[in-house]
């Protein structure tokens, strides 16, 4: 199917891109790698007057080590993340997340910023115009009720980005810029938790950088993803876990983040109680994973039923905690 007609703008620098966004306020959609948005255009989920491709912007790429953190520019490709010894060395879960996105040809062009800023998805929404028109519009299409949960007045579309749970587990922040202004917010604050409008970035803003703090001391992390086949798929459930140890060898920080169960990644606050204050061998993995199950309420709006995906939250969180404990041991803790 053809893409809808649009005018294309091709800035050469971030400064130029910001000027374009300012000039054409609200009428421009950004194409970074394009691997997600091109399909949304094709399905007429978006029909912008202007598209702005970032492929020619040279100052938005690269991974740099700074004092106490890594700075990942937003148009860095997922392949560059997967192949970066720095990322693999200091943030296993982030490297694993990037490596599990789609397949190598997609990762050759898909960007970190595009992966983070993908819109939420739902079986009833991500369909061709023809299929969508066969039913009354759902909430995300401006209708009055949810198509997945009949009569529902809330949009349950699912955020299926792979990177966000791991970036949140590492307490990463993002830099959002608009003409003359910049703000830095935690990755978690990029999400509104409202499926209709899931992202908090403004129409006139560009996500330029991701700041990932380098944790101190011994720590480990792991990302686990449920999908129907081992290539090409969005996560149907995902779990990312970060654990760090105090000098005394006790877990002093635990962050469990579940993805693909609702409009935003979920930080499982209850899990820490079963992990923090314990030695790795004494961590109550089962109970921590159980708390992730309790915190998740997926519904029947993706390729697998909500009830099954909820059970899998526990299984995959358990695997992620065990993976993080294993990487802690490998780190010599």
């Amino acid at each position: 199917m053809r893409l809808p007609l649009f005018q294309c703008l091709s800035p050469r620098s971030t400064k130029e891109a910001l000027e374009i966004l300012d000039r054409y306020k609200g009428r421009v959609k950004i194409i970074a790698g394009g691997t997600d948005i091109i399909n949304r255009l094709r399905q007429r989920l978006l029909s912008p007057q202007y598209a702005m491709t970032l492929k020619g912007v040279s100052d938005l790429r690269g991974i740099k080590r700074k004092k106490g953190h890594f700075l990942i520019s937003a148009a860095t490709t997922l392949r560059e993340i997967v192949e970066s010894p720095d990322i693999a060395g200091f943030a296993a879960a982030i490297a694993e997340s990037a490596g599990l996105v789609a397949a190598p040809p997609i990762r050759n062009v898909a960007t970190v910023g595009g992966n983070l800023l993908q819109n939420t998805r739902c079986l009833y929404y991500n369909q061709s115009e023809l299929v969508r028109k066969a039913a009354p519009p759902c909430l995300k299409q401006g209708g009055k009720s949810c198509a997945a949960l009949k009569g529902g007045t809330r949009c349950f579309s699912v955020y299926q980005g792979d990177l966000a749970p791991s970036l949140i587990a590492f307490d990463a922040r993002v830099v959002l810029k608009k003409a003359g202004l910049a703000r830095t917010i935690p990755v978690l604050d990029l999400f509104s938790r409202n499926g209709r409008h899931p992202l908090t970035i403004g129409d006139d803003e560009i996500l330029t950088d991701i700041i990932v703090p380098i944790p101190k001391g011994a720590y480990g992390s792991s990302y686990q993803k449920l999908r129907l086949r081992s290539g090409l798929e969005y996560p149907l459930v995902s779990s990312s876990v970060f654990l760090s140890l105090s000098k005394e060898g006790v877990i002093d920080r635990a962050r469990v983040v579940v993805g693909a169960v609702g409009p935003a990644p979920t930080v499982v606050e209850g899990a820490a109680a079963f992990l923090v204050g314990k030695r790795p061998a004494e961590a109550d993995v089962e109970k921590a994973a159980e708390s992730a199950f309790s915190a998740s309420r997926p519904i029947d709006n993706l390729a697998l039923p909500g009830s099954y995906r909820r059970k899998m939250v526990k299984v995959f969180t358990k695997r992620a905690i065990e993976g993080a404990l294993l990487s802690l041991r490998k780190a010599g803790a």
């Binding site: 053809r2 294309c8 399909n39 094709r42 491709t53 040809p105 050759n108 062009v109 290539g231 090409l232």
Partner: protein, 159 residues
Amino acid sequence: MEKHRVTLRVNGEAYDLLTYPHRTLLEVLREDLHLTGAKESCGEGACGSCTVLLDGAPVRSCLLLAIEAEGREITTIEGLAAGGKLHPLQEAFVEHHAIQCGFCTPGMILTAKALLDATPEPTEEEIRRALSGNICRCTGYAKIVDAVKAASAGGRKSG
């Protein structure tokens, strides 16, 4: 709506084109340059039959605007044979019966070419990973993997 003037470098030749910005690289290759080796199958980036090499790396030409490929080196399946002689990967695909309906074949071969250019002696696991984004609906994967193995430096030595 305004057309854009672009120069695409495809299989070593430069083509000056005037095209609308919303057209994909796949559309321009097939319809304007009549290079129909790259196929449209799923039309959403899931299947890999539209694969071309962009600066040597496999990408989905259905997910790329043609104007975004300006200044990059594009290789399609038509660019592989040289002087009337098939590329060793093409030979191996024929030899090992790695083609059934043929729709996925250009994408499989180009993806495999990028792998072998970077890793001349890949393990079977590496071959399977590299091809994990290419779907063969005839499900002839075993023969495809055999063909790639045979065309690799290791395969040619033992063959």
